[in-house]
Symmetry: C4
């Protein structure tokens, strides 16, 4: 079986989507690219999170074609594949319909950067990508075009949900978790008034520090 | 004991109502019809979800009469029975008072289709059925009359809660889970402004694709 | 040890407060009266829910004096005791600061009866009791004076939280669970408009039916 | 290994942050000071809550320098250290970005004392501290300057999150749990109108009683 470690990692990371309540039924998926390679591992379509195993994961090439697996790949595979083809530094992609992030996406409204944790992780607002239908490369193009112009590893696809990227599947899952967390906090804050802005220079300082200093060097 | 597999399926599916926080105490129920048959299995009345077993499930005929079981059937049995009698393609019915869906129901307001996931599963708005009292066929008539005119497998019964249907008990449970999920997301989105509409032609394309392409053919 | 079965019941029912997220830290308690007797069992003060056992429960008389137990009784014991002294049909009392019910209580606003489930369980609105300080019988008097004039087994004590009563500890816990459930649903409904009223005659019909017909006769 | 009991306590208390949904990913930390001593134990930076053990905890001196440990200390260590240096009665500090408290913090708005549970634990409103960047003593100074003038063991740091203090790590964790609980309840109450104020004299009575009477003397 190809890519056994990556299958194990991607399978296991789906449990984080469940733990943080980012997904209902089977509506969310994680993929991971073999670093430097031409293949990625992704969730099979329509399979429940309880039933995921390393063996049930699916291997695809960068055009989204099935290379190895007993199941059909996620219906979002084309968007993952397009992202990997066009963003060589990306080795992990996550898609969810998490509640608060999708609520901003349904209004087509970016999440303003009014929390230091948001400056740390996203370096500014979380942007909105275009409305796009599933079935071709339109979603992938929207992801890449939007994230290309932002520090944010998360994009809110209009009327749809969230895609996040990272240099590993774990980093993309972290971005998905933090995206919903800040989407919720900023939403709640806005319900009773206007959150105070953070000056751009301070956002820049926070982002720079977090990307370069935070955490154990060996574990990120 | 009659219908042992269906008893097992219906008993087990109640755990999904608990997992997705769709029910409090004993206020929600799943039933499943023997495909092509004249019997259905339903939750016993007033029994907690922890105590449900295949053996404690109740078998009723399509008039809602008890056929086999040690307990009285759910107090919502008449509504399930009426639905099966009048919708021969339906083999699963679920009823909940899930929070966000019931909140729309209390205002008598349909949930607008502003999410692609909603277009996929519901094919448009989730409609509202009439206010109806328990105790005769009024609730069942409201369900059938409302769902007869919509693609949606879910109906918000005014001031009451949700009924969902499916060609299997699992499909009806999925509809109940997704109904609450989109009810919550659209609610949250509307709290801070107006969600952007999705053009009807795009809703139609999404619905058609999802109903015909998504998932593993063998597992749905 | 006195009242071993009641100790077991009351200890175990605290887990329902935790399961339904009605309590934070140690802020909530259940008591049960020995039917026809002069004693009740209540949570010890300041002990975490994880550590509760039948043995750690405390037995008090109807004046709230400690009769048996290694711990001090709950700081809310006087309110429980006053309720038992003045409502002989009550054999269970529950107190929580559950979020949505306490939010209505902080505004001093009763929860209007706009859900059939609320008509079933509460027979109308959930009323507000007076602001009262802990330390004497003022809270107990507020509970008894308010519930004496209502069908509702739950009262929202102004700026404080919820007290519920029942003919058993389990019934009082059920009322606390359902109170928070309807407090949340009606809150959410009101956030986006006005819920539709239910005519009083229909509330009466629902309440009468639920109190007399619902559930397994042997299990309530 | 130094301070084995304190390592065990601090490690274990992080599970309460997870249980009460106060933290996402690794964004929250607990520390505890050796009473009367010059050392404190704190969470390692960027390590997930699942992986915390007494052995992975880090020991620092009151200037925030690493004294013992295999990992780098939390990136918030300077704020903890400053608090211990300047508040000798404090032996526990907790930091979270819990949703509702951080939402008030993002607006720079203190939480008004409109719940008796809030009068008990916080003795009045929960105050707001200044906006401050990480990287020097600014956050610590803001914590100490704000809490020095209040009864509250919790401070909302503007656009950031919550810091709480206590005479033990457990007391600081309790304050963090209660802070989010009241932040949520007051937020929800305010969504539909104005909560009723509690007279200052009653707040004083409640606070005095709770600090001096509540709980088992031996377990707090």
């Amino acid at each position: 079986m190809m890519l056994p470690e990556l299958r194990e990692t991607v399978s296991r990371l789906h449990a984080e989507l469940v733990r943080y309540n980012l997904v209902a039924w089977t509506a969310g998926n994680v993929s991971g690219r073999d670093p430097g390679g031409e293949l990625f591992v992704i969730k099979p379509s329509g399979v429940s999170y309880d039933e995921l195993t390393p063996e049930s994961m699916v291997v695809c090439d960068l055009d989204g074609n099935l290379v190895e697996g007993d199941y059909a790949p996620s219906s979002d595979t084309a968007a993952h594949a397009y992202t990997y083809r066009n963003m060589p530094e990306v080795n992990g992609v996550v898609h969810t319909h998490s509640t608060y992030a999708s609520a901003w996406a349904a209004r087509g409204e970016p999440i303003p950067c009014v929390l230091t944790a948001m400056a740390d992780e996203f370096g500014g607002e979380i942007p909105v990508g275009p409305f796009a239908l599933i079935g071709n490369d339109d979603i992938g193009k929207g992801i890449v075009a939007t994230l290309g112009g932002h520090r944010s590893p998360a994009v809110l696809m209009q009327n749809h949900g969230v895609f996040t990227i990272g240099d590993s599947p774990k980093a993309a899952v972290k971005a998905a978790v933090m995206c919903e967390d800040v989407a919720r906090t900023v939403h709640v804050s806005r319900q009773l008034g206007d959150p105070l802005p953070i000056p751009q220079a301070d956002i820049d300082r926070l982002y720079d520090r977090y990307q370069n200093v935070y955490g154990q060097r060996s574990t990120l």
